[in-house]
């Protein structure tokens, strides 16, 4: 076995090679999305398609984890026909890519004994890969052909000889070919530098020692993960999360996760997830495992290195033909949205094995917001692009953070400086503010989202948006309430204009001069019952203006006098709020049509008291985890022993709530289910 000192020295050396790769790519890339936006990741892999090392904190898990799939796709296609000097290119989602803009370069290396060794891979976002619109990503895509050039695993350099025919073909089909070629060369140079460093390491320590170190590092990461899994309660846990779709009514896409904890392994089975869709919210087989891994690692072993050892105890099943493993030619531009949804589903299921020790939900996707059109000064097309971060969820022991990149994603800027925006684009930013009361109420409050108001100062501009959680808000957990939804809307002559019937999905909405675009990002979900929040914290929130005095009273039950909690009035208010909460008796019934999400047959009186009718979305509170969201399928006649406040759910839904047949469960109305333009 390798000695512990050499192991640490090699651990440091391997991660340092990845950091050097990052520095080299930033230093040599041609497009600003790489050298300023750092939208790329570097990784060392081995011949068995295992991740050896990434730099935690800078590389995006979203780029890195799928590299294993890319590598397997290369092996599947080329078998042993891989030789020193070969380099492969890949971006196809169906075989392990992310979206077409993220192009992976795979640079195999061989050890002196001839086997494939530790080698570098770079996955970088190319600013444009062709397709129907500049930048290649479009919410209007219905086929992948509209999203750019699709690169299955191909050998782009053959034993040192570049395949110029393929390169010409690729670059001829992309906008800005000079920049593309520059970025390609930068990726090549980055891999070469890494290869030199790996060769130096081999020269010094020998390939056998390095192989031993890599094996040991993976075994240790695996051991840590298995140890953490053994601490969970064994069993099957199911949860469902939703993507938003529909025109007149909300007809969601469902990601259904069954998490099975058995001994020291976890299986995530996504059977029951919605079939692939015509819109861009589909992914290939790599993204759902990436989301599942992100959640499991975050709650079980956040401190460990990221290498494939940590994945070994984890199996993710992605049924083909669904939105989590789409077949060609489904478009896959909305992969961030699907990944977020998988994360919500896995978090909700895992919560049941963690006694609810999770966190309130997040903003649900990229919040991509584009304003584009002819620039009045130059006539050239301008694109003002921002993707505002939202609040993070409350957790046991702390409030969520306000408007910040979440813990599931890399740390990037999502707003441009106003002083740059107003010089570059015909818009004026009129307000950038925290959204008061947007954080999900809870014993630990969700973080706040933001509002940004953008006045349009030109004619012919259009608005496009791709966002989730614009209808169904990020859920609170353990009795916590949801954060505010994402909202993207327009104020015209003081009137509110909804730019599309389905909130969050806007395609080329025409803007008029003087319009004000409001980008409002979601708040994080709360954790725990808001009536149990320390009144002093509520008072402080009101003092800071994070929570209004009205909400303090109606949702937290805290009555303030001169800014201080009135103890007696608060106790009375809280008792009253608790007593008047709406509860129903949930009973097991038949599985209902799942066309519009999980169905519930609601007693007529319950429906009346909740003020909902069929098609509405309601939320069953789970004091020990994530809430159950269900669609009112039909109203049942009053049934049971004088009990008219009933809800009939499939048995699996009762298990999601962790309650027995006949239990009393708190219920809240969430949305009417009706979409209006």
């Amino acid at each position: 076995m390798i000695d512990p000192i050499t192991l640490e020295v090699l651990r440091e050396a391997l991660v340092s090679i990845v950091r050097e790769m990052r520095v080299t790519l930033v230093r040599t890339a041609y497009s600003s999305i790489l050298y300023e936006g750092e939208d790329f990741s570097c990784v060392l892999m081995d011949g068995r398609a295992q991740i050896v090392a990434m730099s935690k904190g800078q590389d995006h898990p979203l780029h890195i984890v799928p590299v294993g799939w890319s590598m397997r796709a290369v092996r599947e296609k080329f078998g042993d026909d891989i030789h020193p000097g070969d380099i492969f290119l890949h971006n196809e989602p169906y075989t392990g890519g992310t979206h077409l803009n993220d192009v992976a370069m795979i640079y195999p290396l061989f050890s002196p004994d001839g086997g494939m060794f530790v080698f570098p891979v770079v996955r970088a976002h190319w600013g444009d890969v062709g397709g129907m619109s500049p930048g290649s990503l479009s919410g209007r895509a219905t086929e992948i052909f509209q999203e750019g050039v699709r690169i299955p695993p191909i050998r782009i350099v053959d034993r040192g000889r570049p395949n110029d025919a393929a390169l010409d073909l690729i670059f001829s089909n992309m906008r800005g070919p000079r920049e593309r070629r520059g970025d390609f060369q930068a990726m090549l140079g980055t891999c070469r530098k890494a290869a030199e460093r790996i060769e130096e390491l081999v020269g010094r320590y020998g390939s056998a020692t390095i192989r031993d170190a890599v094996a040991e590092l993976m075994d240790r990461a695996e051991g840590r993960m298995r140890h953490a899994i053994r601490g969970l309660r064994a069993g099957d846990y199911v949860y469902e999360a939703h993507l938003e779709a529909g025109t007149e009514r909300l007809e969601p896409l469902t990601v259904r996760a069954k998490v099975t904890v058995a001994g020291d392994t976890i299986t995530v089975d996504l059977a029951g997830t919605s079939p692939q869709t015509l819109g861009p919210t589909n992914v290939g087989p790599a993204m759902a495992p990436t989301g599942a891994f992100t959640i499991i690692k975050s709650f079980l072993d956040p401190g460990a290195d990221v290498n494939s050892g940590a994945f070994r105890p984890l199996t993710v099943i992605t049924p083909p033909g669904t939105i989590v493993n789409a077949n060609p030619p489904a478009p896959c531009g909305g992969m961030v949205e699907v990944k977020y949804c998988v994360e919500s589903a896995v978090m909700g299921a895992l919560a049941q094995a963690l006694d609810g020790k999770i966190a309130g939900d997040l903003k649900g996707g990229g919040n991509h917001c584009y304003v584009g059109g002819p620039h009045p000064r130059t006539g050239e097309t301008f694109i003002f692009y921002e993707y505002p971060a939202g609040g993070t969820g409350g957790f046991d022991g702390g409030d969520g953070s306000n408007t910040v990149r979440a813990w599931t994603e890399s740390d990037m800027t999502t707003l441009q400086p106003i002083e740059a925006v107003e010089q570059l684009y015909p818009v004026r930013i009129e307000r950038t503010a925290l959204r008061e009361d947007s954080g999900g109420p809870g014993r630990w409050r969700g973080g706040l989202g933001l509002t940004r108001e953008v006045r349009i100062q030109t004619t012919g501009a259009q608005l496009s948006v791709l966002a989730e959680k614009a209808v169904l808000p990020p859920f609170g957990v353990c009795g916590g309430r949801a954060g505010a939804t994402n909202r993207f809307w327009v104020r015209r002559h003081g009137e509110r204009v909804q730019p599309s019937s389905l909130p969050g999905k806007v395609s080329a909405f025409p803007l008029e001069p003087g319009d004000v675009l409001l980008m409002e990002s979601s708040g994080g979900g709360g954790f725990g019952d808001p009536l149990e929040r320390d009144p002093a914290r509520v008072a402080a929130d009101v003092g800071e203006g994070y929570v209004t005095a009205g909400t303090a009273e109606t949702l937290y039950g805290v009555v303030l006098r001169k800014g201080e909690p009135d103890t007696a009035a608060t106790a009375a208010r809280r008792a009253w709020l608790r007593a008047t909460r709406m509860h129903v008796r949930v009973v097991a019934g038949a599985e209902l049509d799942g066309q519009s999400g999980r169905g519930v047959r609601l007693g007529a009186e319950a429906a009346t008291r909740l003020g909902v009718s069929p098609g509405a979305v309601i939320e069953f509170v789970n004091p020990h985890g994530a809430p159950l969201r269900a669609w009112v399928a039909s109203l049942a006649a009053a049934s049971g022993a004088g009990h008219s406040l009933v809800a009939e759910l499939a048995p699996v839904a009762l298990r999601m709530l962790g309650v027995a047949d006949g239990s009393e469960v708190e219920v809240r109305a969430l949305h009417t289910g009706v979409l209006t333009a």
Binding site: P4, E8, R27, K56, R224, P302, N402, T403, D411, Q423
Partner: protein
């Protein structure tokens, strides 16, 4: 008369004085007194036996400001900002700026100005600085009254586009001074006249946060020094490596925030110039961390994009890279049994086990004691006795848990190796960041633990040459003596460079008038002033800039062809490619103004007479590469001039120990530096 340099650190206050008649340097160390920093300064002067009236110039470096921010005990700041934007200081660019990937429980640090202390004033400027909405004085008065009522101790005035047109900010400041004359006011355009509002506001708010504390500290220090007979102003070192007068430091305390490692780099430049070493990497290893900086042609890399914790601070500063590995870094076992070194540190208290101050967990220093690299009989800084048995016990105890049979020496050597591996990566990464190969540089090592690990580090990276200067343990304080007065100014005007020649000249003109006025106030005659111009440029479409030097002040024209050529060249160097023919944009005009102070004479080093044997302290067993070596220990001050040394050997002196492993040779150069080279093997 003496020139005195004082480095007020968290644990120790280092003093260095040079007698400008003889060139003699004296040094000492006294314990720092947190929140009463001035007391340590006076105690140090007393320990050196120097009376205030015999001091001609006193330069000091302080972490008062840095600590106040990190410990969040600055003033209660109120911000006055453009209507609609009071939360901008909290929202920022929505980055976490702390390590939090995979950490659902992370909490984003809140800005130092609470939301209830943020007030809006009615005004608005356009992107070209034109007034869109005139400043409404009533709204300002209302905001000021509310700020005062909320208990504000300092005001930050942060208006959009003020870098182009500071009139509204100035008017707000005037109203504030009229209504609440005792409240210090920081205007964003005065603190950093650059665009990108969040970074500018963040810097301004932190400046306001520090103003009352630094004001009290500096006023107190000057007053107490005057009582000892010191008749001059106190100079404070800035993050950029230059010095500031007390008046500037009180107005712009944020400029001191990264000054901690600046003295060492300044001194390394001074030493390097004298010794003819122009390209080097400084390696400053202390108790808890290691700072490295790359210096090319005697110019340290600089930047103006700094972070203090999670908050941007946009002031000119040395481009340092810091690693959480120092002599006090703890060796520990992770949950999976892996052996780790740092970033947790034993700090000054309890400190390494070997210091006998209550530490029980082994540190890098303890490992060096076990290896014989730190002598048990030798005093460290003259005060602390070494508990070698304690260090051995602590390392051995860790060894029982490593889960693998290892001798205690092998484990100790492993601890040092792991610490060195982390610093190796840091140095490689800063070098390639600018497209350099570290092997082309000399390593200049200082700090309490630098010379101990420098040669091992150089060997790892493949750096063939190491220089250990004189007084490495007091090097930063020494560096203060060599620093010039420096004022940095900046103006932003974004536009095509070709169309901005006149604008740039006008901006330089404005800044030069202001700088000459300031330097004259500080007593510098025209011939003691040096004004250097530079421009921040980028290709059209880029979002960040490269700084291009464009010569000294006074020229009435700018050679745009030469400037563009220099920019293409720099871009090629920094990013590996350039785009001749692409449009270049001007972003900032910068002026650096120096007040030239006489430097301590580079008096020729006079070594001890006599033979090398006369410098031998002892021979002891020291471990290298798993084997014991009988190793001579030399006393640095008694080494004869030009003495040559061969590894394995140890050189001890006040405050530092240099380790010369087998395979390295060295010599004392004409200036008293220890110069080492890797022996080439046949």
């Amino acid at each position: 008369m003496f020139i005195v340099g004082i480095d007020v650190g968290g644990t120790f206050t280092d003093l260095t004085a040079v007698d400008d008649a003889t060139g003699r340097v004296v040094v000492t160390k006294v314990p720092s007194e947190p929140r009463n920093e001035a007391a340590a300064v006076l105690a140090g002067l007393e320990a050196l036996g120097i009376a205030g009236r015999d001091v001609r110039r006193l330069v000091h470096g302080t972490t008062v400001g840095t600590n106040a921010v990190l410990e969040r005990r600055g003033a209660r700041v109120a911000i006055l900002t453009t209507a609609g934007f009071r939360d901008l200081i909290e929202i920022g660019r929505t980055k976490r700026n702390i390590p939090a990937l995979f950490v659902p429980t992370f909490v984003r640090p809140k800005p130092v100005v609470e939301r209830k202390h943020r007030f809006e004033v009615v005004e608005r400027l356009a992107a070209d600085g034109a007034v869109l909405v005139a400043l409404d004085a009533t709204s300002v008065e209302r905001a000021l009254d509310a700020a005062a009522a909320s208990g504000a101790e300092a005001l930050a005035v942060c208006l959009l586009h003020a870098y182009l047109n500071p009139a509204h900010e100035r008017a707000v400041a005037d109203l504030a001074k009229g209504r609440y004359p005792r409240l210090p006011v920081s205007c964003s355009a005065d603190v950093v006249a650059e665009y990108r509002e969040f970074e500018r506001f963040s810097t301004t708010v932190l400046n306001a946060y520090l103003q009352p504390i630094m004001d009290g500290y500096l006023a107190g220090l000057e007053e107490r020094l005057r009582a000892t007979g010191y008749a001059h102003g106190v100079l404070t070192i800035a993050s950029s490596g230059g010095t500031m007068t007390t008046e500037t430091a009180r107005r712009l305390p944020i400029k001191t925030i990264f000054s901690g490692p600046a003295g060492g780099v300044s001194q390394a430049c001074f030493v390097g110039e004298v010794a003819g070493v122009r390209d080097f990497i400084t390696y400053d290893m202390g108790g808890t961390s290691t700072d490295v900086c790359l210096v090319r042609d005697l110019a340290p890399l600089t930047t103006s994009d700094g972070m203090l914790g999670a908050f941007p601070v946009k002031v000119p500063q040395l481009d340092m890279h810091s690693v959480g590995a120092g002599g006090g870094s703890l060796a520990w076992l992770d949950v999976d049994g892996s052996l780790k070194v740092g970033p947790r540190s034993a700090g000054a208290s309890p400190g390494p086990v070997a210091y006998g101050l209550g530490g029980t967990e082994p540190t890098v220093t303890d490992a060096n004691v076990v290896l014989g690299r730190i002598g048990a009989r030798k005093r460290l800084g003259g005060r602390i006795a070494i508990d070698a048995a304690g260090a051995l016990r602590a390392v051995a105890e860790l060894g029982t848990r490593v889960g693998r049979a290892m001798t205690v020496e092998a484990l100790a050597e492993g601890i040092v190796t792991i610490a060195v591996a982390r610093m190796t990566s840091a140095i490689r990464e800063i070098s390639i960041q600018r497209g350099h190969d570290p092997r082309d540089f000399t390593l200049i090592a200082f700090g309490g633990a630098g010379p101990m690990h420098a040669l091992a580090l150089a060997q790892e990276i493949g750096i063939p040459r190491v220089l250990v200067p004189r007084h490495p343990g007091n090097f930063s304080a020494l560096g203060l003596l060599a620093s010039q007065i420096k004022h940095d100014d900046v103006r932003t005007r974004v536009g095509p460079l070709r169309e901005q020649r006149g604008v740039a000249l006008e901006l330089f003109g404005q800044m030069e008038v202001a700088a000459r006025h300031q330097l004259a106030l500080e007593g510098f005659a025209a011939h003691e002033q040096r004004l250097v111009r530079s421009l921040d440029l980028r290709y059209h479409g880029q979002a960040f800039e490269l700084n291009v030097a464009v010569g000294e002040a006074g020229a009435h024209d700018l050679d745009l062809d030469a400037i563009e050529a220099a920019f293409h060249r720099q871009h090629l160097g920094a990013y590996g490619h350039s785009s001749p023919g692409a449009a270049i944009e001007l972003v900032n005009a910068r002026l650096t103004a120096y007040g030239l102070v006489p430097r301590p004479s580079g008096a020729r080093y006079r070594g001890a007479g006599g033979s090398l044997d006369g410098a031998l302290v002892e021979r002891r067993t020291v471990w290298f590469d798993g084997a014991p070596h009988d190793c001579p220990v030399w006393e640095r001050e008694r080494l004869p001039e030009r003495a040559s040394l061969a590894g394995p050997a140890i050189v001890e002196e006040f405050g530092a120990t240099t380790i010369l492993p087998p395979g390295w040779g060295g010599a004392v150069d004409a200036h008293g530096n220890l110069r080492f080279e890797r022996e080439t093997r046949a």
